[in-house]
Symmetry: C2
Subunit: 258 residues, 2 copies
Amino acid sequence: MYSVSIIGSGNVAARLGHLFRKKKFELAGIYSRNKNAVNALAVELKVPVVQQLKDLPQADLTILAVSDNAITHVASHMPVNSKTLVVHTSGITTLDALMPHERRGVFYPLQSLSKNKETNWDNVPLLIETTNRKDEELLQSVALQLTLPCHILNYEQRQYIHLAAVFANNFTNRLYAIAFEIAGMHGLDPTLLTPLIQETAAKIKCMSPHDAQTGPARRRDSATIEQHVDLLRQHSQYRQLYEIMSRSIIEALASESA
Amino acid sequence: MYSVSIIGSGNVAARLGHLFRKKKFELAGIYSRNKNAVNALAVELKVPVVQQLKDLPQADLTILAVSDNAITHVASHMPVNSKTLVVHTSGITTLDALMPHERRGVFYPLQSLSKNKETNWDNVPLLIETTNRKDEELLQSVALQLTLPCHILNYEQRQYIHLAAVFANNFTNRLYAIAFEIAGMHGLDPTLLTPLIQETAAKIKCMSPHDAQTGPARRRDSATIEQHVDLLRQHSQYRQLYEIMSRSIIEALASESA
């Protein structure tokens, strides 16, 4: 079984740490600038905390689960050692951000990770990139032990899947928040929407989102659209969003029939 | 057990019909203008088809599961009979659209219903409105037999929950479609996004969407936002949507800290 060192104490570090622990990897050490967070996480993971980056224990795999803009800084201040494969977890950062390390890789799980919620890892794709075939095999073997399907993506592909994920996850969640807010403003329990939200997500497991599209814009029901726009007359930002989303649905239909 | 007649042959008529059948209601008859669709549905539901609206058999409950703009027309052309409670299934239509019927009601299940996919009815709220207490009790009793939680909403509340549902369901589904399209355009299997979509929806069962918000805009990571906007330079519509959604996330944060 491979040994792993972790840098970071945020959502990604926490969820990956728990996954590695559960799958019986050897956790060699953990480091983070955020001492309170890393101490708490280290207790959960039963892994030794290191106080300085330069003291990070050598492991088969070192995971930089830090924010995108910290990757270069951390990579340049940690021990350089050809015995460890150094990977980051970013969807939008190149391999070369990990210079001067000779063995560099990307280890990007395409999932929404929250520190305070256990992650459903079923079928979560692990998107990897390396500089050489041997390290590729190492990451594939790690994925196998984590029981995650593994895909090799180059930088351009990874950027686009990351962008797609922002639409599917971050923007979708923002729509949930707006829907909850609209309900709450009118004295309605927002959790009335929960089964609808679950079903909307479940549908795409058996039909394409294109085929699953419903609603006033899909039906070109301009009376309902106008009524909704009128309900939002006090909320220009949501009204604008309503109009743009509806237009997007209508234009997708039009380009289909064209 | 109550008897039910159904008007319509679309998504709502089909899914409600199956639910009533499963819960052992007596299906008295079904009518739709669309003869092919209603014949096929009638076979599935084992219910007699009526050829003309005026021949619709009298039942305890008559459900108009037709498009919003057809409700008034159908209501005015069907038999008037005080022994049946006539309900529509629309989130955005008043009770009075069902004139001249004396016993009018709304029977609005807050769920995304697709003809070709079985519906998960667990905890789906049934939103009702009636003109009198006795019919309210009848619908509450029907909801109980369907094992659906039942809520009495007035027209204004129903309009707003319908609007919220458009954000949570129709617009969310459109974001899924855009995400799938972005992935597909770059040779990536869109189903890579499926676990992420499921997890995003599952999260709101245990935390508010406000607390669940992640992503570049949530982190005010302007470098990533700029990079994503640049990736969308050929797709002005998606770029505009990206910018508006990101701004919406950033402004929600700002109003929180204000």
